[in-house]
């Protein structure tokens, strides 16, 4: 009698299972536990991807600024993560996710978890806190004192970012509005907070020497567009941890559609900015198109889980054009933001947060926005959140930078600024083998 191959296969499979099942039961490897493991691994991988955004910020910022300040930008980007992580461990995490009232948490200071899931969750949160902190580095680049920047980093990761985070993600008052405020991955919580703080910093510091002479705006060119582009790609890559990772679960299959909306928004923003600058300046602008891709990513971050792919393209495209126009606007009002951090993170953070109220669809995130028959309710909640966070963050950061300015001085001396912060703040050169041109100063 011939035995069919398939019969044989089933026989061996049953044999294997009969042996395997008791073994599995001994290790208690249940389906439930496997699902939890997947969640844990996904959240950690996402956290590591978001960590990579620190490198992205470092490259973008140094690319768009001058060679004589490159060491200083590297030190700022390294130390804002390191100081920020320590401050967030000691104070920030407790304020953000501790048990407390509508405004701040009061437990979990000097964080130590009771199970491994909590550690994974902390890892994911700490890289977000550092992202909010590092946004400011670009806006205040080329003139802030290093020590002042360190104090700022500790302040924002220990207090400002966690407070806003508690309101929105930690069960605070914005999460408990009649129609809860939606900010899925942090257009407001992370990007707007960083953007508003950056705006406050540049206002208190004033423009770099030689940026505005009388009524003319002088471009101060960055020293490496290739590094800037590498930074944009690194940030974009990190965003696949930032947005899809914010499901905090690998068993929530919407991570796939979130990845799609994230991608489409960034692409639409870059294409829109390229077209817009091509028409406006006769050539497609490199720096603005690179920055606009990031603007699109910021814009989609709030609604990434709530909107359709088609809507994400509209949100991204508007974000890209908003970025280009905002860069021009801030230059006209003489707010000197060397890398366009405020235009990217604050302006598009606001746009992305409001866009949830317009484009949200039930099929994706459970609520409908204005354009899909949900009425004005969600939009009003979004607006309340945007206004409240702006007033709180911008107000407190203006005050903080002013106080630092009075105590230790926020800005380096004129001579030091002209010489470059690498030599004046660190006694170091970034490109010791190469002549650095003074013609762009």
């Amino acid at each position: 009698m011939k035995i069919k191959k398939s019969t044989l296969a089933i026989f061996f499979l049953l044999l294997f299972l009969s042996l395997a099942v008791p073994a599995l039961a001994e290790e208690k490897l249940t389906l439930e536990k496997t699902a939890k493991s997947l969640d844990l691994v996904w959240v950690l991988i996402a956290a590591f991807l978001v960590f990579m955004m620190q490198a992205g910020f470092a490259m973008v910022e140094t690319g768009f600024t001058r060679a004589k300040n490159a060491c200083n930008i590297m030190m700022k980007n390294l130390l804002d993560f390191c100081c920020g992580a320590l401050a967030y461990w000691a104070i920030g995490f407790g304020i953000m996710f501790g048990v407390g009232n509508l405004f701040f948490g009061k437990t979990n200071f000097f964080f130590g978890g009771t199970d491994m899931w909590q550690y994974a969750f902390w890892m994911f949160q700490v890289v977000f806190a550092a992202t909010a902190a590092t946004i400011v580095s670009g806006a205040v680049a080329e003139r802030i004192k290093f020590i002042g920047y360190i104090f700022y980093t500790i302040f924002i990761t220990a207090l400002i970012y966690p407070l806003v985070g508690h309101w929105i993600w930690g069960g605070g008052w914005l999460a408990k509005l009649p129609i809860p405020f939606i900010d899925f991955a942090g257009s407001t919580v992370v990007h707007s907070v960083g953007g508003y703080a950056g705006l406050a910093g540049t206002i208190i510091l004033g423009p770099r020497i030689g940026k505005y002479i009388g009524k003319t705006i002088k471009p101060i060119k960055g020293h490496s567009m290739t590094l800037a582009a590498l930074g944009v790609f690194l940030l974009w890559f990190g965003w696949y941890g930032f947005n899809p990772g914010s499901t905090l679960s690998a068993n929530n299959w919407s991570i796939a559609v979130i990845a799609v909306t994230t991608t489409l928004a960034a692409c639409a923003a870059a294409v829109a900015a390229m077209t817009f600058t091509w028409i406006k300046y006769k050539k497609p602008d490199v720096g603005l198109t690179l920055g606009a891709a990031l603007g699109g990513l910021v814009a989609i971050t709030a609604g990434t889980a709530n909107v359709s792919p088609a809507s994400s393209i509209i949100i991204g495209a508007i974000g890209g054009i908003l970025y280009v126009e905002a860069v021009g606007f801030f230059d006209r009002i003489k707010v000197d933001d060397p890398v366009g951090a405020v235009s990217c993170h604050a302006v598009n953070g606001v746009w992305g947060t409001l866009a949830v109220g317009l484009f949200a669809q039930k099929e994706f995130g459970g609520v409908n926005g204005l354009f899909f028959g949900g009425g004005f309710g969600q939009l009003i909640s979004q607006l309340i959140g945007v206004v409240a966070v702006f007033i709180f963050v911008f107000g407190s950061m203006i005050l903080f930078f002013k106080v630092i300015d009075m105590i230790i001085g926020l800005r380096v001396s004129k001579e030091d600024e002209l010489k470059g912060l690498d030599l004046s703040e660190h006694n170091a050169e970034a490109y010791a083998d190469f002549p650095i041109s003074a013609a762009n100063d």
Binding site: I209, G210, E415, L418, K419, L423, H426, N427, A428, E429, P435, I436, S437, A438, A439, D441
Partner: protein
């Protein structure tokens, strides 16, 4: 005709250019150079090792000028390049004024005073 060779601090280039523009001196060549005079070295630190670097970053300006503009040019550079206005500081740089034998404008083949151009007395006389 003179060739003015000025070596100044790179961070002062902006001020020097501004002073020169005020005197309507727009034609110049700027070179990034390294060098050292009375100022001697400066301290740099690399991975914990302290090093005295002997050659400083400096900027060299080359300006060809007609006689009537020599004093103006030298005054403008001095004013722009000196640290803290009148005080000055070791390391502010030097200006060399060298006699210039001839000058030829490549485009037109003009020679001498006319080739140097600008708005100097000599050029105005020539045009009359």
């Amino acid at each position: 005709m003179k060739l003015i060779i000025a070596i100044v601090r790179p961070e002062k280039l902006r001020d020097v250019k501004e002073e020169l523009f005020k005197e309507k001196i727009h034609m110049m060549t700027v070179i990034d150079v390294r060098g050292c005079g009375q100022q001697k070295g400066f301290i740099e630190e690399y991975r914990g090792v302290i090093e005295e670097v002997e050659l400083h970053r400096k900027v060299m300006l080359l300006i060809a000028i007609n006689e009537s503009y020599v004093k103006k040019t030298i005054d403008a550079i001095t004013k722009g390049a000196r640290t803290n206005g009148k005080e000055g500081k070791v390391g502010d740089g030097k200006i060399f004024a060298v006699n210039l034998e001839d000058c030829i404008r490549i485009r037109t083949g003009e020679k001498g005073v006319a080739a140097i151009g600008g708005e100097s007395e000599e050029v105005k006389k020539l045009k009359k």
